[in-house]
């Protein structure tokens, strides 16, 4: 093959040790991605194919690397919130939550009760919204295109709620260190109650289309199996971990943000295949609504920001009358707050697994190091194992079931 006859995708440099020329045993090397309709962004897989059967899959990532961790080192603690939005862009509020909790741990403070409950409500709605995108893409990747449109129709309603609270539909940056950006508007409760009333019937509708559909069963059962031991060793999280029979959910087992006050079940699977993950995620969505309902019923009155003026800016109205408030405001927005030297790691149960944040402070206003453990990044490792010896069509189903977001994989 001369250079001119090669497919454009082949001109992207391949990692050393990986070639796109046919191997000695005449395997077809297929460069799947980075622009492929079902690699969910810019994931690139180098597939070694024997006919349509995958002999080996090598993920090649980094096409969306934006250096978020390096960027964070140049921002103040509060400003970093905005870059966390851009990692898992399907669940920005979960990222906000993980980061805010990590810095709060570093500071040794806790958000006020009202803020914590609102955080739980929104984080659970975010989980539903992230799972809806997963459901849609899982369906679409298997050819059931209508499910995608239904799921996104519902997600719109959730985005409306985020917009109501923060003004932004996706990049909300709503959870601040020490509370919330601002209190929820009065329409909030009604809007969430409407979702609680509407959504269970919608979930039934999706299930009618997929859960017992023979083609869907045929395509997903027994596919992409991870055993319990493999799942733990691979460090996968979320529905993949629980689908393999590992009973672990950070919300229940290492509660944060007051999750210990809510009654909810953690759906657990056993078979560890794509279908099991599908069932678990649909059940998780129902559980999330259960949490939201409890949280909404007990939503306490009170402030949504901690009163420590060294961390949270004073209310806008005070600036006109109080010199001290003005100084605090000015200092916080020019310099930022300075946590004591130390380091903190906080893991939360994001929709995709454990989202971990490590923040290191040396006493200045900017983090020396902010490290994010993206669940998608870790979960992606399981792909090679899942697809070995399966068909190309299965690769697509497996990618969808891992539920990766490339913004988080590449960071």
């Amino acid at each position: 093959m001369t250079a001119s006859t090669r497919h454009p995708a082949d001109t992207i440099p391949t990692p050393p040790g990986v070639t796109l020329e046919p191997g000695p045993d005449d395997k077809l090397i297929l460069s799947m991605g980075p622009h492929h309709p079902s690699t969910h962004g810019v994931l690139r897989l180098i597939l070694e194919l024997d006919g349509e059967i995958v002999v080996h899959a090598t993920p090649d990532i980094g096409f969306l690397h934006t250096g978020i961790e390096k960027t964070a080192e140049g921002l103040t603690y509060q400003q970093v919130i905005t870059v966390t939005d851009r990692m898992d862009y399907l669940a920005p509020l979960s990222n906000n939550l993980g980061y805010a909790l990590a810095v709060e741990k570093l500071l040794g403070v806790e958000a006020p009760p009202r803020a914590q409950v609102i955080r739980v409500i929104l984080a659970e709605l975010q989980r539903v919204s992230s799972h809806l995108v997963w459901l849609g893409t899982q369906g679409m990747d298997l050819g059931a295109i209508s499910v995608f449109l239904y799921a996104l129709r519902e997600r719109e309603k959730l985005l409306d709620i985020f917009e109501l609270c923060s003004g932004a539909r996706m990049m909300a940056s709503y959870f601040w260190v020490g509370g919330l950006l601002r209190d929820v508007p009065p329409q909030f409760e009604g809007a969430v109650r409407k979702i609680l009333a509407d959504f269970p019937a919608r979930f039934d509708e999706y299930e009618r289309m997929l859960t017992h559909n023979p083609i869907f069963l045929e395509r997903t059962q027994g596919l992409g199996i991870l055993s319990k031991e493999e799942a733990i060793s691979l460090g996968v999280g979320g529905a993949i971990l629980r689908g393999s029979g590992v009973d672990w959910d950070l919300r229940r087992d290492m509660p944060y943000s007051g999750y210990e006050q809510y009654a909810f079940d953690v759906p657990l699977g056993a078979r560890g295949d794509v279908y099991e993950r599908y069932l678990l995620r649909v059940r998780e969505m129902r559980q999330s609504l259960r949490i939201v309902k409890q949280a909404l019923d007990r939503l306490p009155e009170g402030p949504v920001r901690i009163s420590d003026r060294k961390i949270m800016p004073p209310p806008r109205a005070e600036l006109a009358t109080s010199m001290e408030a003005l100084i605090h405001h000015f200092k916080l927005f020019t310099e930022g707050f300075k946590p004591p030297p130390g380091e903190a790691y906080q893991g939360i149960e994001s929709p995709k697994g454990e989202f971990g944040v490590m923040v290191v402070s040396d006493g200045t206003a900017k983090p020396v190091r902010a490290h994010f453990r993206g669940p998608s990044f870790v979960n992606l490792q399981s792909l090679a194992q899942m697809v070995r010896g399966r068909y190309i069509a299965d690769v697509v189903a497996c990618i969808a079931s891992i539920d990766i977001v490339l913004g988080e994989v590449d960071r």
Binding site: G235, W248, D253, Q381
Partner: protein, 186 residues
């Protein structure tokens, strides 16, 4: 028996300072060469069962404010013998406990044994640290850049790798920026 006591009993000198900060148990491992053995012990010991590796990351302490260091960071060793710190976040699902292992590494060609034989998940995580921080993991099956292109020069998360912009100097950050200035790209 606490995990620290057990570690000291088994590994003796290799275990350094242990401390608790904001409810997190942090243990320093003094001998980097022992890290894989320590991890494998913690994973398999029926008393602890740290079978899940949550996170693996690294810190570069080159520009850290020396007078105000987190506990356990020794100012004398900041730039030389222990410039880099590799963090291991271990999780025991049985005991619902986390354990934070820290290993200090020197500035010159930092390297330590890979924990991929202990946890498969360390594969990508170690590659990320290698890519962005330039720490080599001996025995890693496929140690090459993961996020950046293969022909990238340097390791961006190191403190002497400057960002593409220069921060404006104010009185509150004057000294920090002055310290970083020598690493700025010319």
């Amino acid at each position: 028996m606490s995990v620290v006591t057990a570690l000291r009993e088994t590994f003796g000198e290799a275990i350094g300072l242990d401390l608790e900060f904001r409810g997190q148990l942090i243990v320093w491992i003094e001998q980097p060469a022992q890290i894989a053995a320590v991890c494998s012990f913690l994973r398999d010991d029926p008393r602890f069962q740290y079978r899940y590796l949550s996170d693996l990351s690294a810190i570069d302490r080159l520009t850290m404010e020396q007078e105000s260091l987190p506990t356990g960071h020794d100012p004398a060793e900041m730039t030389g013998a222990r410039r880099f710190v590799v963090n291991y976040q271990l999780l025991s699902m049985t005991h619902k406990q986390r354990l934070w292992l820290k290993v200090g590494l020197g500035a010159e060609a930092p390297s330590l044994p890979s924990v991929t034989p202990v946890w498969t998940t360390a594969d990508f995580l170690e590659r990320e640290v290698y890519d962005l921080m330039g720490i080599a993991f001996e025995g890693h099956p496929d140690l090459r850049r993961i996020l950046l292109p293969d022909d990238w020069a340097g390791h961006p998360l190191r403190k002497d790798y400057p960002p593409a912009y220069e921060e404006v100097q104010f009185s509150h950050n004057f000294e920090r920026i002055e310290k970083q200035r020598k690493y700025a790209r010319r």
